[in-house]
Symmetry: D2
Subunit: 458 residues, 4 copies
């Protein structure tokens, strides 16, 4: 997963992009970068690390220009190296191309293989570089035509923001799998993965970029063109379940309210006698609020999250039981002791983390533990950009709900039903990709692709 | 404010102290330090920054020994320099003294002045250094006698942990103003500001150090001696209101449950017709839960906190309205639009932050905003270690509730009553210092002290 | 200018390369990098900075493998960015190519333009990338054939070391403009810009790589192939005058002894009555020794070099006269006072540095100052890799010797004659490129090239 | 050893001090610090590292004020820690004291012991802190009287620069063991260890601070007072032999010329048939020039020093013969092959370094190697600030010249005679301390002192 942001026509383009990335930090904690354009010069600053660490005032001041694009990157297995930081920028005889990409191409290996055969050199393992090579290859008189030609070669999920010789471009694949929205601020155009980035800079949300739409923004204004291929919405439903920020609107609808509705539906489907409802903070908070409201049971903060714990921390010298759970989440014994507890989780991936948490809650004195999950079992990987593990590692792909319950050590375990989830969505159910739950992938892909995906994983 | 931690008799003393400080990070974000003792050698590592930044594995490995003490320090005005990092360590002809201190002495200037007159040299502006000078001055044959003599000179609040030639010492002033608790792990003794530090390392909570008690732990075991001065509990009530972690037990009682009770009492005292109850996250969460439960109104997350925002961030180049609120807390318009909102705050200090937040909520569409505060108006400074501003800057010391309401821009504002607060406490009301609310300071102090305090502030 | 180094067949390949670069540091102070190959894996570490700053023990340990190549880079105008650090490495469907390059191609712009036309993407502004693109383009069954094909496209100066799928390759252009020598250590082959790098690791010097020769070293041993184009030696004479280390052998001959002979010849051609001979340390030391020996005048250290002064230092707040001279070189008044001084310089480029130094010597009390330069006037730029300024900035291209003397503020100024220089060389005079002195460039170049050179300069 | 610098009455005090320390860097490479005073505020910046690393423009800008003092520190065994960086600064009820010290007190342990008995606390192991404690102890109405009282307690060598409530003070022990000179620049006064620091900032040398003199510089001007104890010059002769910069004047006389005279005298005393004279660069350069001039033999650079080698470097993975010599000094085989070589060294301490160098020269082909040393054998430690090893480790204290010759592997070895050295000095022979050569220590010291010195060494 990644977060992308772009702005055109604002004298504080770099500063706005910096804050846009700040708001999108949850979409990628590994690296951050900004490219700006102004007075015919392109500038770039990027590094491994969080947005706040990568940029300081001096770096921002150096990023002159009134057009900018930025990217935050999530660490996916094996390629967590400095070279892969985005935006990807190429200077060229006839100018420059910079690109920030969110999503995953399913024909990347195929395209790359073909171009390497004819002597092309690739610097990185990123899909973004492939898009740039295609743009270079198809370059003609009319850059819009070239754009459509190049983007038409791509299969898979892509929401991209580009700077092409000073023109800001935003594009989304024909299925609109990853989000991308458009805003305005002081007359300037803004593109962002989520609306929370617009909110922070006080930009006004205009609309989403449509599936298959390519928008080009330059001195002459805003133009919208479209990929020729057939389009139909297949928005990633997992953005609503877990990935997006609760204060964002995604595919035009609010995330927090959706999550709360999932919790309400979950309480309707799978009630259980208990004393309290508690979330796994923070991702389970919102569905838990809905569950508590619907069930009439008291909502309690049974575990307190330590917000100082970063992504990594030193392991203790000696074994401390369930340390990795407790350093992040400390249970409150006085709340849990002798209680029948319902814990609400947003989703279960491998099940190992849940297992440790449940053990910790039992030690703190919980008498019964009933887990309620605000989505169905995840049974199949995502090939469009969510970093799930391989099918084998997904607990629900190989174990029944009962087996999973026993593995985690629960008194009861219930998932939200597929229909329950789809019906709780704020858009009609045919507008989503829910392939990770139902294996119904909207885009065909070759065997070679699957192979390459699994190889990358190893 | 500060957090202190000590351990005696454990081969992983440094590692345990590191995690103890990790758990106490909320008590001081400015600097961190650890001193260890083993095989007659004393070792030290400290720096400005969060615990996770100050220590790496190499540093921890170098901190050998089976006794250790640690400190996290809060930035108080004007003295935020490297020299003032604790623990404060002195190597001496006859050995060493290391000290970690939480609290504030009210006769520090007086003691220091006297010792400087006779040629003593002070390196820092810290109270801890004064305690060490007293220990050096009163040193006799029996270190316990010296200890009692030195500590008897101190007026004000102190919870301290010391290493004195390999003996771990814990002490608390005669009023027990700041917390300090005792735990055990694998036969080793542990001292900590709050029980959340014991929880993380899986140590068992034994009891609190008593007001006026001095405990000495060495090879020969655990001994408890007592200051001669009269003791009576006057525990800081603000630890319950705001400062301690909700999952901690303070003065033997749980913080989270106390905060929830404050919210329940608040709802009883000051109900109001509204659509939703929301907290200012995270510090207002727990009272808000109590308020919602008691009032029967739905609890909603009306603002989402961005957990990536550190203590400092770059300011935007151009003015963005209410930026400093919104970078930390983003309101969800779909939740707030047209609603009558009750917001629950733990406390109001200057009122300026509340004012900005309320403005942001109004812009997001809230129709009515009613603020409920889970403690009485703060009208007087704390001289025992809480970093409140001067009396003049405390909004409640110069404005009536009505004026404050108007300043913040509220439809209604209600504080919890003094009796309501005291009666919601888990200990009897005469066991607390509530001087910031009622000016009833348990310890007398000279004019010189007040003067020095205010001078430090400037 | 740059320094290159390679080793094949030694278990300490990275460590040896590190020391090789250490010895070649004078050829490039801006950045350093090493690529190693072993067990089918390629590894890379590089950064801006001196060799000692770029590598630490951890970095060296991570550079596993028994083949390695390294590069130190000199900062040339305008392209001093991290992206341009060498060795340049590309991972490819069929393997990898890494290259370290010393020299300057005169048809780089032409080659690049052609490849960009057909859709190639260039990441850097370095000649090395062009070589890699050519290798990718001409790749056939036999990599040796491809190599010769690709290298045949190049015009200009190149001494290169490459790793091509685990084979170490060394090559030199048909004129042998830049040096490259071959050594052996414990059965392993070593390639280096200068012999001082062999000395440091105690490798035995074998021979120079010949003009137009390509050597390939792999498991099967050492093979030598040759470019088809006609070859004739045109070794850069400036390596002897200034660039190489005095303890190196270049083109098989020692640098120190050559410089001393230049000083002897200079004393023969241009004697002058004086009290002392002094060098501008350290580059003028060796010719000054020869001059003093031949003239019978005492050699004195009239200026002492401060070896702590790095490439950059903070400028003083207020104006201090001739500060930038004196921070590096402090004159000794007691030596200079009232003396007639001969100062021996290796060369004069812009003349401005000499002017400041002479002023400083006058202030220190020198009565007469006679400058003797151990090469002829530099009148034309180098297009083969020496970073001279443009012709306009070369003082000798626009001013007569008399005008230069007056500009610098000398009592007399004499250059070594062209014949005097060539006859002092340890190889016959037709084996050198002395184009910077006589405009006799051995390689033709197009107008476009000249244009591109000057554009880069701006 | 250390370098000290002070300036009073100049708006660029910090910047001038920075450059002063730059010039004095050879006196201490471990740490650097500056303290400034202006508008009643004292400021400080210091760190481990070279001057150029410790200070940047921001640090210098922050060091406001028109009085400043600075210090560079040499790493002496065991106490190379951040706490010991100088200047040492204490803020005090009545003001501040900052001190930079060069030299070594012989009654430090005694003084410290006494003050600890009465309850004083010491932060560091530095002599400077003792001086500050004495100043605090003897503080009276008249600071000059206090100064004389405090400094009178000190035994041993001290050249100090102090800032005492805005007054700049310079003082030197009664024997004037370490150098300290006075200069003027734009009306401001400057104090420095060596004149090379005055040269760099273009200050005019006025005179040396006299033995036992204390100078006080403030708004009212320059005053000179004197310690009551008897004074007689006993200047450290080793400053001339090795320690000071050749371009400095020490004790009013030039170092370079003195070293050259030592070489001339050495050639007179101990001629030998040989082909060339070569120095061990850079410290042997100047005596070697004198030796070559007097002997009529050609001076050759037989070894080239690599100026990029810092104080530390990574050791090679595998054994490379004489690596630690060759990384710093590369012999030129063509110069040495078959030659009878005289190498001129400034001094021999342990003999181990010379041994390795001689081995390297033999391998490079030298036929005969004759070493000439420009001072007598060092037989006794320095207790006044030169960091010699213990007597046992000084090769000349336990081995005869013949044994030393064999240990090092020489064909012949000759030291300069004691009289030859003293007579070559530019001041009369009774003005020097030459105790390291003749055990004639000018200051008595107790057994306790010797013991403490040796303990520190372990």
């Amino acid at each position: 997963m990644c977060g992308i942001f772009g702005v055109y026509g604002h004298k504080d383009a770099a500063s706005l992009t910096y804050f846009g990335l700040y708001a999108l930090q949850h979409r990628g904690e590994e690296s951050a970068g900004i490219v700006t354009y102004g007075k015919k010069r392109i500038r770039q600053h990027q590094s491994m690390g969080l947005v706040n660490d990568v940029f300081d005032e001096k770096a921002l001041r150096s990023l002159k220009g009134d057009a900018a694009l930025g990217h935050v990157r999530y660490s996916t297995t094996g390629s967590s190296i400095a070279k892969n930081i985005q935006p990807f920028l190429v200077r060229h005889k006839k100018g420059h191309i910079a690109i920030a990409h969110n999503g995953n191409l399913t024909n990347a290996a195929h395209l790359r293989h073909g171009m390497e055969e004819t002597g092309s050199i690739f610097q990185t393992t990123m899909d973004s570089e492939i898009i740039i090579h295609l743009l270079a290859k198809f370059r003609g008189k009319d850059y819009k035509e070239s754009l459509l030609k190049a983007l038409s070669q791509l299969e898979g999920a892509f929401s991209v923001v580009m700077l092409l010789n000073g023109t800001l471009i935003g594009a989304r694949d024909s299925f609109g799998i990853r989000p991308l929205c458009l805003g305005k601020l002081d007359g300037a155009y803004v593109l962002a993965s989520e609306t929370c980035a617009l909110d922070l800079i006080h930009a006004k949300y205009i609309r989403d970029i449509k599936p298959g739409e390519v928008v080009c923004i330059d001195k002459t204004g805003f133009k919208s063109i479209h990929l020729k291929s057939k389009t139909r919405p297949a928005h990633c439903i997992f953005e609503f379940i877990y990935f997006s920020r609760p204060d964002s609107d995604i595919y035009t609808k609010n995330v927090y309210l959706t999550r709360k509705r999932l919790g309400i539906q979950l309480a309707k489907e799978s009630p259980v006698k208990a004393d309290i409802v508690m979330p796994i903070p923070d991702s389970g908070n919102y569905a838990a609020l809905g569950f508590a409201e619907e069930s009439g049971l008291p909502f309690e903060a049974g575990m307190i999250r330590n917000h100082y714990v970063g992504r990594t921390f030193i392991q203790p010298t000696q074994h401390i039981r369930d340390f990795n759970v407790r350093i992040k989440l400390n249970p409150i014994k006085n709340v849990l002791k002798g209680k029948r507890v319902i814990i609400v989780e947003d989703s279960i991936v491998r099940g190992t983390t849940s297992k440790s948490r449940v053990k910790t809650l039992r030690e703190a004195g919980a008498k019964e533990i009933h887990m309620r999950v605000s989505c169905p079992p995840i049974i199949s990987p995502c090939y469009y950009g969510i970093d799930f593990p391989t099918e084998k590692e997904l607990i629900a792909s190989s174990r029944s709900v009962k087996q999973t319950r026993d593995f985690i050590g629960l008194d009861s375990l219930k998932y939200l039903s597929l229909d329950g989830m789809l019906n709780s969505m704020p858009l009609s159910k045919d507008k989503f990709c829910a392939a990770c739950f139902n294996r119904n992938y909207p885009i065909k892909f070759s065997k070679r692709f699957k192979k390459s995906v699994f190889e990358k994983r190893r």
